[in-house]
């Protein structure tokens, strides 16, 4: 059972293991090149990186000793992996519960006399082993990257890898419990993603606003950040590690209890059918219209992301005073904020911080849309659609159009919420700036949708994993090109770079056209691949 369950994670292990290895190796080995070799150069590098760290604290945790290879590796190599493994944990947990049941593997196992508790334990243990391989790959990447320059801190890196392993396992356990409550893979992915993203944002919120520290202590991401054993003078945070381990045990036990109290292929929170009201319901007229019918089917995804975007837009814009005032003691950052947005640090903060953060949300939304397309394929809905007189190109065109409309809606409500929240605290965002920063977000998100669309059209089972890796590599690219002084064309592989900073400067037209070209080429390739592939194989 354990061996078989472990085997089910093989592609995740290979994919995420490679990402962890490459990420750790590249970031560690690049330190010498980007930071210089003299103490003075490294100190200057650490100062500029600290300023950058504050700006991108929604992605990376707090930095320590950035003038050392170990401190830098902890921040740049181990830090972003928290976001990468988040995607894996959500997908793997949904697959381990709902996927196994939809494929009737659970029926088989239960019929073979395996107890439900043992099944839960085996699934958790199998993912634990898989996550161990990925954490070990990260550790190895650091060691290989540091070895040519300094003696690697094997123990410190092992401590951080231990934290990463527990983070993966605790996220998986949380999503595994969530998947017990709902009845479909799609719902398990959606609710799991919401829960995990909220936990992540608790930590992010506390990074920039220390009055929210209490909130972050319920987040496994905070517990992961708390172990800084790789940085000089750092430590293994026993409390954080114990909380992570405790979360795994508690959610594992709760999952086993939930599994024991529900039917196979049903969620614990199964709603009772409401016959009387439903019987009179007529189908929505939206189902009769191309594009609208796809949006209708993904309406809860759309509503969910719009709500999340509004909440965070309101939070970031509304807390501009508190955050800017709290960091105004950092001279470099204060100067940076004062220089931006016509000397108004609050406007500059909203422009830089919110329009940086919303990129993360839109990438998540695009990945979620692609997950729906991939599910249509694997769940047999595409087969039903293609059994009607519908050309295959229409399927891809509808996906593209629905993505365009959906992204435009999320961007619009996010920008309106930002403006409203900023106005509420007396910060005036001019409409032109807001518009200039907002509309390029549409091709930005469509870039992800188009790349995901290619894989959803040809290899739907791998679409989410591959898109997650592509998004991560794009982020790495964005961060490493300036640091490693690579040619500018290399930046074009990063959507963040292509979006630019239109809220602070101007629209980056070259980047914009590249994003449009990627979108057109992506959906074009998706159309060709869709026409050439076999459906339901």
């Amino acid at each position: 059972m354990l061996r078989y369950a472990f085997r089910l994670h093989r592609w995740g292990i290979i994919g995420y293991g490679l990402v962890a290895l490459i990420d750790a190796y590249v970031n560690t080995t690049s330190f010498q090149q980007v930071a210089g070799s003299t103490p003075a150069a490294r100190a200057a590098f650490a100062r500029s990186m600290s300023a950058l760290a504050t700006q991108i604290s929604y992605i990376l945790g707090p930095p320590f000793h950035l003038d050392t290879i170990d401190g830098y590796a902890q921040w740049r190599a181990f830090g972003p992996l928290a976001l990468v493994v988040l995607i894996w944990a959500i997908a793997a947990a949904a697959g381990a519960v709902r996927g196994d049941e939809e494929r009737q593997l659970v029926d088989y196992w239960l019929a073979a006399g395996i107890s439900r508790a043992r099944l839960v334990a085996s699934r958790l243990a199998a993912f634990g082993l898989a996550a161990l391989v990925v954490a070990a790959a990260c550790w190895l990447g650091y060691v290989l990257g540091a070895l040519p320059y300094e003696t690697p801190d094997l123990g410190g890196a092992a401590g951080k890898a231990l934290g990463l392993w527990l983070l993966m396992l605790s996220l998986f356990a949380v999503c595994y419990l969530v998947a017990q409550l709902v009845s479909t893979t799609r719902a398990a992915q959606t609710v799991g993603a919401v829960v995990v993203v909220v936990l992540y944002l608790f930590d992010v919120a506390a990074r920039s606003n220390h009055s929210l520290d209490w909130l972050s202590w319920v987040s496994p991401f905070k517990w992961y950040d708390a172990t800084d054993s790789l940085a000089p003078g750092g430590h293994l945070d026993g409390a954080g590690l114990a909380l992570s381990a405790g979360l795994v045990i508690v959610t594992g036990v709760l999952a086993a209890l939930a599994f024991a109290r529900r039917d196979v292929r049903a969620g614990l929170l199964q709603r009772r059918a409401r016959e009387a009201r439903a019987r009179d319901a007529t189908p929505s007229p939206l189902l009769a219209w191309p594009v609208a019918r796809l949006l209708y089917r993904q309406r809860w995804v759309l509503v969910g992301w719009m709500a999340v975007t509004i909440v965070f837009a309101a939070y970031f814009a509304g807390s501009a005073h508190a955050i800017v005032d709290s960091v105004s003691g950092v001279p470099g950052l204060r100067d940076l904020l004062v220089r931006g947005a016509g000397g108004d640090p609050y406007r500059a903060f909203i422009a830089a911080y919110w329009f940086g953060f919303v990129q993360l949300l839109l990438a998540g939304f695009a990945i979620h849309l692609v997950a729906g397309w991939a599910s249509d394929d694997t769940e047999g809905i595409l087969t039903s659609v293609l059994s009607m007189p519908v050309p295959r190109w229409v399927v891809v065109a509808e996906r593209a159009a629905a993505a365009l409309l959906g992204v435009a809606l999320v961007v619009a409500v996010g920008s309106l919420a930002t403006a409203a929240a900023a106005a509420a605290i007396g910060v005036s965002l001019d409409a032109a700036t807001l518009f200039r920063a907002s509309w390029p977000l549409i091709p930005y998100a469509l870039t992800y949708a188009a790349v995901g669309g290619v894989f959803a059209s040809y290899f739907p089972r791998a679409a989410i994993g591959v898109l997650g890796v592509v998004a991560f590599l794009g982020y790495l690219d964005y961060e490493l090109v300036p640091l490693l002084k690579l040619p500018q064309w290399v930046s074009y592989f990063s959507a963040q770079f292509l979006y630019g900073t239109p809220s602070l400067t101007d629209v980056y037209w070259t980047g914009l056209w590249v994003m449009v070209a990627i979108t057109v080429a992506g959906f074009g390739a998706a159309t060709l691949l869709m026409r050439r592939r076999e459906v339901g194989a």
């Binding site: 059918a273 769940e379 047999g380 059994s387 007189p389 050309p391 076999e534 459906v535 339901g536």
Partner: protein, 304 residues
């Protein structure tokens, strides 16, 4: 005769001997054609190629003279389809799924949909995930039949249906044929199709073993016979009788299998004291299994 379906050397080679090989098949317009074979024989592979969902390694398939691959969209204007594996529409209600897929087909006749739902006793106000396997199958049948297509391609359509609904389904198939439709239905259970099919194609290990009319299949049916004699059974005569096999003796009882006519067996026992004689007519499934076992491999006359 007009052909609704025509395949020529249709092959889908998955390697290692798996797939579908050199399928030459003609299904006449207006007939009900049963496509029979055990699991993994190639039934669904054939159907997926007819529906343009999978592409042939070589050979061709046409529906109403339209190429199933190149003219897939045009083909589907004429086809109603029930997939072997029900899709997972999740939280959509049955009525929403009908509206969703019906709009893609150019709209649906609400009265016809309601009539079909009533016949199959399907509550389309329920969410799809609340449906049992049988109800999912019923919804797929409604979707396939609602457009009154010229051709119905049904992949194991009765699996999951209770006997009452199977009867309703049989009636629906016969009515569709009466109205001029062609029906191509696959099954691995002969008894499910023997009441409605005009002809049956038997596929085995990816190759079409034979095509026969129902009457031809009936001709090679087996009968299991048990004869109780008042004295010594005429064993030599029974064993020598044409079409009599598997003769076993239990005291004064003789068990045997009779293929085709009873006449040779009756002549063999004519002078003996027969106390009792019982004959069990096996179902077509037994005939089918016998056919697969190899002993009757060449017994079914080809009429394709």
């Amino acid at each position: 005769m007009t052909e609704a379906i025509r395949t020529r050397e249709l092959t889908k080679d998955y390697g290692a001997g798996r797939g579908l090989f050199d399928l030459d098949l003609e299904v006449h317009a207006g007939e009900v054609f049963g496509f029979l074979g055990p699991n993994g024989a190639g039934k669904t592979t054939t159907i997926r190629q007819l529906m343009g969902l999978a592409f042939p390694t070589r050979g061709s398939a046409a529906i109403f003279d339209l190429d199933c691959h190149r003219q897939a969209v045009e083909v589907k204007r004429h086809v109603g389809y029930v997939p072997g594996e029900p899709p997972q529409f999740g939280g959509l209600r049955g009525r929403e799924i009908i509206a969703y897929l019906g709009a893609m087909a150019g709209g649906v006749d609400r009265a016809r949909v309601e009539a079909l739902c009533d016949r199959l006793q399907l509550d389309v106000s329920r969410r799809y995930r609340e449906y049992s396997t049988g109800n999912k199958k019923k919804l797929l049948l409604v979707i396939a039949f609602m457009r009154q297509p010229r051709l119905l391609i049904l992949d194991e359509p009765t699996s999951g249906l209770d006997p009452l609904n199977q009867q309703t389904f049989n009636t629906m198939v016969l009515e569709a044929r009466r109205d001029g439709a062609t029906v191509f239905l696959s099954s691995h259970v002969l008894s499910e199709v023997e009441h409605v099919c005009d002809r049956v194609g038997i596929i085995r290990a990816g190759r079409l073993a034979n095509v026969a009319s129902l009457e031809e299949l009936h001709e090679i049916r087996l009968h299991r016979v048990e004869i109780e004699f008042g004295g010594e059974p005429p064993l030599d005569a029974i064993r020598k009788a044409d079409g009599v096999d598997d003769v076993t003796v239990e005291g004064q009882r003789v068990h045997c299998v009779v293929r085709g006519s009873f006449e040779p067996l009756m002549q063999a026992v004519a002078g003996a004291h027969v106390v009792n004689l019982t004959s069990h007519e096996p179902s077509l499934e037994d005939t089918f299994l016998e056919f697969y076992s190899g002993s009757g491999k060449d017994a079914v006359p080809a009429s394709c």
